[in-house]
């Protein structure tokens, strides 16, 4: 089936070529980091995790969100999602690959990566995160690829795949729960030490992930033969709406607990993010943009006239996606390092080299996604042209 990705329009080749160039540029930037060390990044002794780990965290959410298409389709037989369920699964594949790469580029000693397997440590959440992410990658790839292979030959998917799809549903929840546990169990980081971290992660994921999926569907509808029905898009948009409302609600719960209790440690990170502390206020504009976009996105999605209009819908979804990204892809990780162990603030500004590496990782993810989606479109196009009996 992979051969479908080898032939395409000029536009397709140009897009793949562009992504390949970005990958190479990213690789060159990574080699610089590999040779010199993480000193080429903006990371420091006090802010020891930065954009790499926050992008990882955000993309785990995008990966987990495939379940929002899978649950209605596989568990509730919601046939409207039948055509796009594979887009969700392949988006999850690409997202998990991006996650693994972000962990990889974050390591100080990447050549020792296999120590996690050679010296398995079940007490460490990172060990479990590796297990669930690997499993989720395999599940989604096997499910998507097999279903598509059978579809190509005109057969219904085999029974064992059905079983895997049922396993993949709780598995998706597990990847983001375990990722939340990476943060939520650390004694000295007040901003992360919250019991609803996993719930927040899932809510934010189920808003941002399907928002991205709808945008991808609209792009495919515009540029390729893959036409997603309006009904499927509107159903997904409903999921985005309520997940985002839950996400904002959960965040406000955090604000209440921090400020009504008045415990300094719990307030400081929020004060730093939204107002600045002792003159340190790098993230303040980002967090307020996130706030505005979150409410804007929700309001636009709640107005039927806007969400049924393609342009209005895109604006709403981009708002939701960017808001979720600013919250989880920037504020969450960096806020956790404020204050440091001595009650001080150290700020973090990523370097250009670091940003190029991030761009390279996303380029690899987009390349994987492009190839997988191209195969899907290729198979569907072939089946539409061919007579059903031709395969026999």
């Amino acid at each position: 089936m992979l051969e479908k990705a080898l032939y395409g329009s000029k536009r397709y080749y140009a897009w793949v070529g562009l992504l390949l160039i970005l990958c190479v540029i990213g690789l060159a930037a990574y080699l610089k980091q590999f040779n010199y060390g993480l000193g080429v990044t903006g990371l420091s002794r006090d802010v020891s995790w930065g954009l790499y780990i926050s992008q990882f965290t955000f993309m785990v959410g995008v990966a987990a969100s495939a379940v929002m298409v899978a649950i209605p389709y596989y568990l509730h037989d919601y046939k409207t999602f039948g055509k796009i369920v594979i887009l969700g699964e392949f988006l999850a594949v690409a997202a998990v690959i991006v996650c693994v790469l972000f962990i990889f580029v974050d390591l100080g000693q990447p050549t020792r990566l296999l120590n996690i397997i050679l010296h398995p440590t079940p007490g460490s959440i990172m060990f479990w995160d590796m297990c669930v992410l690997t499993g989720y990658l395999l599940l989604n790839f096997i499910i998507g690829w097999t279903v598509l292979g059978y579809e190509k030959k005109g057969f219904p998917a085999p029974r064992w795949v059905k079983i895997l799809t049922y396993i993949a549903i709780p598995w998706a929840i597990s990847i983001h729960t375990v990722t939340a546990f990476l943060y939520a169990g650390l004694p000295g980081r007040a901003y992360w030490l919250t019991a609803i971290m996993a719930a927040r992660f899932l809510a934010s994921a189920f808003a941002a992930g399907p928002a991205l999926l709808i945008i991808l569907c609209i792009i495919l509808r515009k540029w390729t033969s893959f036409k997603t029905s309006n009904r499927a898009i509107q159903s997904l948009a409903t999921i985005v709406t309520y997940a985002m409302i839950a996400n904002v609600f959960f965040f406000l719960l955090e604000v209440f607990t921090a400020f009504y209790s008045g415990i300094p440690g719990h307030m400081t990170a929020l004060q730093y993010l939204f107002a600045g502390v002792n003159g340190y206020n790098n993230l303040v504009p980002f967090m307020w943009i996130a706030t505005v976009l979150a409410f804007l996105g929700i309001i636009l999605l709640l107005i039927p006239k806007v969400r049924r209009n393609e342009k209005g819908l895109i604006l709403a979804l981009v708002s939701v996606f960017v808001a979720a990204w600013l919250d989880k892809g920037i504020g969450l990780v960096l806020g956790g390092f404020v204050p440091n162990a001595f009650g001080q603030v150290t700020e973090y500004i990523p370097t250009v080299n670091e940003l190029i590496i991030i761009m390279g990782v996303y380029a690899i993810g987009l390349l994987v996604l492009t190839i997988l989606y191209k195969v899907v479109i290729g198979v569907r196009e072939q089946n539409e042209v061919a007579e059903p009996s031709e395969g026999f």
Binding site: G37, S44, R45, S48, G108, H119, G188, R189, F342
Partner: protein, 260 residues
Amino acid sequence: MNRRDFIKLMASLGIGSALVLEGIDKIGAAAEVAPDSKALPAKHWGMVIDVSKFNSPQDFQKVAQACHQYHNVPDIDDPRHEVKWIWQEDFEHTFAELESEYLSEKVKQLQFPVLCNHCENPACVRVCPTKATFKREDGIVAMDYHRCIGCRYCMAACPYGARSFNFFDPRPYIEQINSDVPTRTKGVVEKCTFCVERLAKGQQPVCVEASGGAIVFGDLDDPNSSVRQVLKDNFFIRRKVELGTGPSVYYIIGGGGASA
């Protein structure tokens, strides 16, 4: 290959693997070497620091210098990338949660040597995905620099800011290399080890020796140990005990003659 060669090959393979297996057994046995007869034994190493004895910057400098020189700690000027095993913080920063506007000038001026607390319940050990940082039977939280993958999860977990990361090759920043202990490579985390390699030879930690009695080191599980004697006679505080980490570094501010 004829049958004769085949049998020869199999026989040699068999002998070879038997030798290898025997060798592995020996390595296993060697791993449980008897400790040096001079090694200092303890069930739970702990430290008491008498802050009142760190009056001048020199009092502290000699301790930090002795430690950092002995352990090949690089001297990096940039606070973002610096590596430090023991350093000074004032009261408001060491005990941020005890800050008060009515602190006496005397307490405000106090400088606290801070280092790894060798917790009874160390968060860094709990989170490490490779057991590169681990707690020994004598309570010391130690590091295996060759196993560390540099994920820095321990740095996020440590509530004391005790861990440093090598953001680049530290060796050019070491003035004189002490070959008794390792230097580190780029990309690994490091911190105070309570001088495990010195304890194994019957020596006290470097900082204790250099402090001239301002730092006492001993077995917290032994009621007759020097640390327990000091703790019995003085009011002490530990950093962030409310987190349940069980720090093994105690601070006394008394300055009474009975302390150390």
